[in-house]
Amino acid sequence: MPAGLNRALFTVAGAAVAIVLAIAICSVAIVAAGADPLAAFAAFFDFGASARSQSNGIAAFLNRAVPLFIAGLAVAVGFRMNLFNIGVEGQYRLAAICAAYVGSTFTAPKPIQITVIILVAAVVGGLYALIPAVMKVTRGVNEVIATIMLNYIAINLTSYLVRGPFAGQRAEGELTTTTPDLPESAMFPNLNFFFDWFGVLPPTRGGGVWGFLLVAVVLGLVVWVVLERTRFGFDVKASGLNGPAALASGVNPKTMVIAAMVMSGAIAGLIGLPEILGDRGAFNSNFTPGLGFLGIAVALLGRNKPVGIAIAALLFAFLDRAQGALQIAEVPPSVITIIQGVIVLLVVVANEVTNRLALRLEERRAARQLGRNSPVEVGA
């Protein structure tokens, strides 16, 4: 069996064991909470009885996965370089409000309008990530601390902007604060036609399945190509794995820190757009927070690979969708958080265990082959 396949099998097996163990641990938690674990697991697959509730459930599931996937990508780009970009949270919130505001100030044909909004979000996110990057390369400030602090600044800055300079009209008697509404040309077309193809009732939830899903897929492909198939991606990986070695082979670590952070921030800038362009049409005080932090878990779970991140985002979204179904089945919805936390923890442990296991098998194989005095092929 080739070493690469061996390792992939180990990874999959590790993840499967982790998920199963997580279910076991959560069953204990559910029983402790006085509910029935079987009812809980049934609720995860219960998308409702009517056609409408089923398509709504699918829409809610996919719509949740899109921002989680982008958040995971943003964090993973930093992780690849051993850069812990905790600042995704602040970067996406600041980017979202700036993009929503800029988008509301003009009207252009749909493709132009949406492109401008996406660019604004990416630029704001990238620039905000540039701050900790510059601090790191010029003064050696730890990016973890810098980005955590910058999160606080961004969060408070956005809540100031939404009620101050960027505030829009609010309806009489409404207490939520919001930016001005985006023009119709800024709204991303939805993917409801997809449901029509299969003769299923299109979902009504939040404007249907967000078309931004396609942008996320393209983004995932681009990130994969850049990280795995370009010189830049190799430099990032090399700098992350062994900085001095990368430096010795002609990679400027400072440039790489800045490039990776800005790329991470630019992707982070897009996290809020599916929600704004797909449903809300403005940045308001109900804007979903916390996606940046969830992105860390998603990236860890997906092992920093776009495909893995997509799977992790879908898993998290699948669990999150059951919030209502669980409560209708009389199960406390906090089991979702417990399952998510336990899975991440166990997958990280499983990664470590499978890595060591694979390494040991590899060593033994190498030793055997050395004993036979034949050429040795060592896998990464």
């Binding site: 499967a16 064991v17 199963v20 163990l21 279910i23 076991a24 069953s27 674990p37 079987l38 009812a39 697991f41 049934a42 609720a43 697959f45 219960d46 409702g48 009885a49 009517s50 509730s53 709504n56 809610a60 949740r64 969060i155 408070n156 809540s159 100031y160 939404v162 009620r163 309806a171 009489e172 008697g173 409404e174 207490l175 939520t176 604060t177 009504t204 939830r205 939040g206 809300r280 308001n284 005080s285 109900n286 979903t288 927070p289 916390g290 996606l291 999150d320 969708r321 919030q323 209502g324 179904a325 409560q327 209708i328 089945a329 919805p333 979702i336 958080t337 265990v353 296991l357 040991r360």
Partner: protein
């Protein structure tokens, strides 16, 4: 070393496989029953009321629990089948919850808290045959009823009570979030205080600015704010800060001073017995009345599209008398209440 790790792995794997099989079986049968039984269980004509809390809602011993009390009353008195849901901690699924209730056949559906305003509007448009209500936000669709409260009137009475009882001539107000809703509490409270003594000192502190709703669930911040007021010489602090109010009570207990609760009769709802005694009174916002009356009106065939304001006239707001600490100034409070109801006093709703 190696053997140990291996055996651990093996045990984990075996246990995992067994559980996976168990979970798979369970999932199948469970899913089948819920899907097939749910529609059959619905009998025609049953009143099914759905209610969605806001983030951190259920169990706040205040606003949201009051809404639940109204729902429970509908269950016992109107024989309604009830279901209450809480959103994810990031609030990303408020609209989903409303739709899930609608899909599960609940009608009417109530959203608790102004954050539901936007989602109720969208959901109401999608489900025109279902009646909705939103607490603390105005009606924004033909099938949405806005349940509003004259918080400034109740707070005026709280201000009168505080100013009369405060021997130091110094009181305080802790607001959760500096938005128009909480400013109504402040405006009423200040007006009430000034109506007793115009030169009284009032400390006003908001925990978070408008748009940052963490101020409703930050007891630590509430405690710090109230501690400062008590140290500066305030005798009584009134809070309109949701969960953060607990911190205000803790500060009052530590300083051996008094506090005024909000929304529910907090002297009854707060669990800690040492905190109960510091709550002189509570400004009641009868969300329970609002919720119950709405359900009752729905049963009677009422349609939405309007706002219902619960004020002093209908006892939609008022002061709690648990503990009997404001019994001695009852005459004064009743007089103030009468003046407001009669229109002799118009309480400002903006500070």
């Amino acid at each position: 070393m190696l053997g140990k790790r291996f055996s651990r792995m093996a045990v984990g794997t075996v246990a995992g496989v067994i559980l996976m099989a168990a979970a798979a079986c369970g999932g199948d049968t469970g899913g089948g029953t819920t899907a097939s039984e749910a529609p059959a269980g619905e009998s025609e004509g049953t009143l099914k009321v759905g209610l969605a809390f806001d983030i951190g809602g259920r169990g706040d011993k205040s606003f949201n629990d009051a809404a639940y009390a109204g729902l429970e009353k509908a269950k016992t008195e109107l024989g309604a089948e009830i279901k209450e849901l809480s959103p994810a901690s990031d609030g990303s699924n408020r609209g989903d919850l409303l739709r899930q209730l609608a899909d599960a056949g609940y009608n009417p559906i109530i959203g608790v808290g102004f954050a539901y305003g936007e989602d109720i509007k969208k959901t109401a448009e999608e489900y025109p045959d279902i009646q909705f209500a939103v607490v603390d936000s105005a009606s924004n669709a033909p099938n949405v009823t806005g349940l509003l409260f004259a918080e400034e009137q109740g707070s005026y009475l709280a201000g009168v009570a505080a100013a009369t009882k405060a021997e130091s001539g110094h009181v305080g107000f802790v607001g959760g979030v500096e938005n128009d809703l909480i400013k109504k509490f402040e405006a009423g409270f200040v007006a009430g205080v000034k109506s007793v003594k115009s030169d009284i000192k009032i400390d006003v502190k908001y925990l978070t600015p408008d748009g940052d709703f963490s101020g409703f669930k930050a007891p630590d911040k509430g405690k710090v704010a109230a501690e400062k007021m008590f140290q500066d010489g305030a005798d009584i602090v009134y809070h309109a800060a949701g969960d953060s109010g607990l911190g205000v009570f803790q500060a009052a207990a530590a300083a051996k001073k008094k506090a005024i609760g909000v929304d529910s009769d907090q002297r009854q709802t707060v669990k800690e017995s040492n905190l109960q005694s510091v709550i002189m009174t509570s400004m009641l916002k009868r969300v329970d009345v609002g919720v119950f009356e709405f359900i009752k009106a729905f049963q009677g065939g009422a349609k939405g599209g309007t706002n219902i304001t619960y004020d002093l006239k209908v006892d939609g707001v008022g002061l709690a008398t648990t503990g009997g600490e404001i019994d001695d100034i009852k005459d004064k409070l009743d007089a103030a209440k009468k003046d407001i109801v009669d229109g002799k006093i118009t309480v400002p709703s903006k500070p």
